[in-house]
């Protein structure tokens, strides 16, 4: 962190160096170059992504490292062109700054399936990317980081390299074309070497040279599984998360906010808390209290001890009543019908069924937390987050200071999965810091606070009609009802209601590459004010389940093998998607006789640009049903780091399987019934499957990898359960219906 020096409190800088690229390279649609927010105390910043000082090269990652390996891959993009020595490169989180906008966020904006985007539509989305630059959306999400950084980060490395060479050429009196670079040094024809560190200061003042990017054939780092930049810190306990910052005179805080969501606080008695050793203050936060103590344990004991008079939640009193509310959305006109082919109303349905999925918590390993101090009117925060500019803005409001007077350090995220886009923890930390100025505060939520104040993956209902004829699907008609994540989460972020058709609500259902003559997917938005937010794979996480379980039902209705049935409908529509199905077929030896007591299921979802297929094998054992094996195949196109792709696939799969087996948040009087891991668990080593991952690179467009493993995991599991037991379970979690090993 110290190497970043004092990152500017203002984003407008004198003498800033323009980012590599710009209009000259056709990278950006907006012609004005971005402003470099970096102003290191020592050394030189060559652009918003590179600082070189006497200690070496630091690469600034514009996205949050939450486990997905993005620091490693983004830094490798820069290092590849810069000719930095990989082992000595340091990677830092970028400060809140418009320079770090995420252009790829807009790639999913058009109401068109990704697999079917034409060239002109891709150009339109690039234009939309420029719009997200205008908005300055510095968000880590949507499995976009690598797609977004692919050109930009290489440009940053290449232009820095050329600037360094230009300085060296002058000093040595040789032609720049005769110089080469290697391992952090410029090398002249006579063997003279100059370290980048000795050139950086002069190089940083140069105009950005025009450069061409290297051909992938010449890549030395990209395409290889690199040692992760964060690994050593994470195996030695040195990696710093939100509550690992140690400051002189620090106090320890926790909060207890009204658990009846939407309710508030009529009054409280702090005396019982103040009687606890170590408890120093109880602060009124309006809808709850903060307790400040000499240690976190005392703060948590104190928070429990405060006697609080809560006011009730306006939410429906039971989960079942919430589902009734969600189902009401079917009575209204759909918000969208993004897939509408043939004449679904004129085809008689052979199958009409309803599916349901529950609310889910993110349940990151690290409960929400932050460290903050308001000193001399300046607020400094350390918080692992997925949207630094939003967090800084909210912190400024909460502390009553100008955003120029906020320094926000993004530290490692102990899991994100969408949860840390939300600014609630930062708002609290800033507010508490402002109430006790000059005192550093480490705010740690209890697990119960974390689970009961999530922005949940919404519950959803799907009503499906389908028909088969002569071994093929002739009707797939889906209506999907749920409260809208897009409206809730984007609304919180931009401060106004989003209108128009909600693509996120139906993604994973309307955009799947199946050729079915009568094919319709309608989205119905439910009015229900449970706090909801982005959860790994967002809409795909429920629509993938609905779509792929129902395809399975159609396959069985047609008397067909479910994998071959899929291939028959997918192959012509998208050979890329067909490829991942063929891959899992071959990996799992699909079609070979399955032993007694084994059930296999398959599913495929195209999400975040990456089709991913999963085969699950279930085995009946003495103690219950074991998820024995998983075979996954994905096609994200060009793969920059195979080990990270594999790790993300496994991670997404286990996240999805955990939810499908046992994930469920229910509410009583607006309060989540689940508070900790014993009520809301996940797969552990003994009941997680053995996983085989196949990575294909036939997709002509680069896709994401952080999320696509999650959606197909859930239907593959349910389909395997059907194969094993003959029971078609149309709701999640599965545990109430089947004795999985837990």
């Amino acid at each position: 962190m110290s190497r970043l020096g004092k990152i500017t409190r203002r984003t407008l800088l004198v003498g800033a160096v323009a980012v590599a690229g710009g209009a000259a390279f056709g990278v950006y649609q907006i012609r004005k170059p971005v402003t470099n927010p970096l102003r290191p105390e020592d050394g030189a910043s060559l652009n918003p992504y590179v600082i070189i000082d006497q200690q070496g090269i630091s690469i600034i990652a514009p996205r949050a490292e939450m486990g997905q390996g993005v620091h490693t891959t983004l830094a490798a993009l820069v290092a590849e062109e810069l000719d930095a020595e990989w082992e000595s490169v340091r990677v830092l989180h970028g400060p809140p700054a418009a320079a770090y906008f995420n252009a790829a966020l807009a790639h999913g904006a058009l109401p068109v399936p990704d697999y079917d985007l034409g060239p002109w539509q891709r150009r339109v989305t690039e234009g939309l990317g420029a719009a997200s630059k205008l908005l300055g959306l510095q968000v880590t999400g949507g499995s976009t980081s690598t797609v977004d950084g692919f050109e930009r980060m290489r440009m940053a490395g290449a232009s820095a390299r050329e600037a360094l060479k230009a300085v060296a050429a002058e000093r040595l009196g040789v032609d720049v074309a005769d110089l080469r670079t290697e391992a952090g040094r410029v090398i002249a024809p006579d063997g003279t070497e100059i370290d980048f560190r000795d050139l950086a200061e002069a190089a940083a003042t140069r105009p950005v040279p025009q450069v061409e990017l290297r051909h992938p054939y010449d890549w030395k780092l990209l395409g290889r599984s690199l040692p992760r930049s964060d690994m050593r810190a994470k195996v030695t306990g040195q990696a710093q998360f939100s509550t690992d910052i140690v400051l002189e005179g620090m106090k320890f805080a926790t909060v207890r906010i009204c658990p009846y969501l939407g309710g508030g606080m009529a009054g409280f008695d702090a005396e019982p808390a103040l009687a606890i050793a170590g408890v120093e203050q109880v602060l009124d936060l309006g809808d709850g209290v903060a307790v400040i103590a000499s240690n976190t344990w005392a703060a948590m004991q104190g928070a429990e001890a405060v006697e609080i008079d809560w006011t009730p939640s306006p939410l429906p009193p039971t989960t079942e009543a919430m589902f009734v509310q969600i189902a009401r959305a079917f009575d209204a006109r759909p918000n969208s019908t993004m897939r509408d082919q043939g004449k679904p109303d004129e085809v008689e349905a052979g199958i009409e069924v309803e599916y349901r999925v529950p609310f889910l918590a993110h349940s990151t390993m690290e409960p929400m937390g932050a460290t903050a101090v308001l000193q001399d009117g300046h607020l400094t925060l350390w918080v692992g987050n997925q949207a630094p500019r939003e967090h800084a803005k909210v912190a400024a409001q909460a502390a009553g200071v100008a955003v120029d007077n906020v320094t926000l350090h993004t530290v490692f995220l102990g899991g994100g999965f969408g949860r840390r886009v939300e600014t609630d923890i930062t708002r609290q930390a800033a507010r508490i810091a402002a109430l006790v100025p000059e005192t550093p505060i480490r705010l740690t939520w209890s697990r119960e606070e974390d689970m009961r104040h999530d922005f949940y993956r919404p519950a959803a209902i799907a009503r499906m009609r389908g028909a088969v004829d002569d071994g093929r699907a002739v009707l797939f008609d889906a209506k999907i009802a749920a409260p809208s994540v897009t409206r809730a989460a984007i609304g919180r972020m931009i401060g106004r209601e989003m209108g128009g058709p909600d693509k996120g609500h139906v993604e994973g259902a309307f955009d799947q590459p199946y050729a079915i003559p009568n094919y319709r997917v309608a989205g119905h938005l439910a009015e229900l004010d449970v706090p909801i937010g982005f959860w790994r794979a967002v809409g795909n996480s429920f629509n993938g389940f609905f779509h792929e379980c129902f395809i399975d039902e159609l396959a069985h209705a047609a008397g067909r093998d479910p994998l071959q049935f899929r291939l028959d409908h997918v192959g012509a529509e998208s050979p890329v998607a067909g490829g991942v199905l063929e891959a899992v077929r071959d990996m799992s030896d699909w079609g070979a006789p399955v032993p007694e007591g084994v059930g296999r299921g398959v599913a495929m979802t195209w999400s975040f640009g990456t089709p991913t297929a999963v085969v699950i094998d279930l085995e009946r054992e003495q103690g219950g049903i074991r998820i024995a094996r998983a075979f996954m195949a994905c096609d994200p196109g060009l793969v920059l780091d195979p080990a990270i792709v594999r790790a993300q696939m496994e991670s997404g799969l286990i996240y999805g399987l955990s939810a499908a087996v046992m994930g469920e948040i229910t509410f009583t009087d607006g309060r989540a019934d689940q508070g900790n891991f014993p009520d809301y668990d996940a797969l552990r080593m003994f009941n997680a499957p053995r996983i085989e991952v196949g990575i294909l690179q036939d997709n002509p467009h680069m896709g994401g990898v952080g999320e696509p493993g999650t959606p197909p995991a859930m239907p593959a599991l349910a389909n395997a359960l059907f194969a094993l037991t003959g029971q078609r379970v149309r709701s999640l979690p599965l545990l109430p219906h089947a004795d999985f090993l837990i």
Binding site: D230, K234, T236, M365, N676
Partner: protein, 157 residues
């Protein structure tokens, strides 16, 4: 009043209430933040440390009840030299978000001390209390086998 402890080979004094769980003494008083808080109810294993070599959940051990020398993740390596388990973790690139990994490594260290050549089933049983929301389980299992080989004089990797 203060409580004397040995942490990572160093004598320490804690001024916190003896009922305070060891976890918060380590994190808040001693600044040893490598040990993580995940649940507070011994359900996730993120706070796993050793007391006299035994893996325990630091969120459940009151300061006044600590019966022996405490070792945390910070004490597992010798200066810049990583412990064999940590080296295996690096070779297998285990960590994703990394928040649970201190606890995973400390749990695995106890396993290898007791069972130098664990089977898959023994690893699964020993690690059942350690949750990982990133799902790094297959890499953890492989790294434990690899570290076992290294510790037993075989070639790692």
């Amino acid at each position: 009043m203060s409580v004397a402890l040995i942490v990572n080979g160093t004598d320490r004094q804690s001024s916190l209430d003896p009922e305070t769980p060891l976890l918060w003494v380590l994190r808040d008083e001693f600044g040893l933040t490598g040990t993580k808080f995940g649940c507070g109810v011994a359900a996730c294993g993120a706070c796993t440390v050793h007391i006299d070599g035994e893996a325990v959940r630091a969120c459940q051990i009151a300061l006044g009840d600590v019966w022996g020398a405490v070792t945390t993740i910070e004490g597992l390596s010798q200066g810049d030299t990583l412990a064999p388990l940590q080296e295996a973790w690096v070779r297998h690139q285990v960590a994703q978000c990394g928040f649970c990994q201190s606890g995973q490594i400390m749990q695995a260290a106890e396993l290898l001390a007791q069972t130098p050549e664990p089977s898959d089933e023994e690893i699964d049983a020993a690690m059942a209390g350690n949750l990982c929301r990133c799902g790094t389980y297959s890499a953890i299992r492989a790294a434990i086998h690899d570290a076992a080989r290294a510790l037993n004089g075989g070639s790692a990797g």
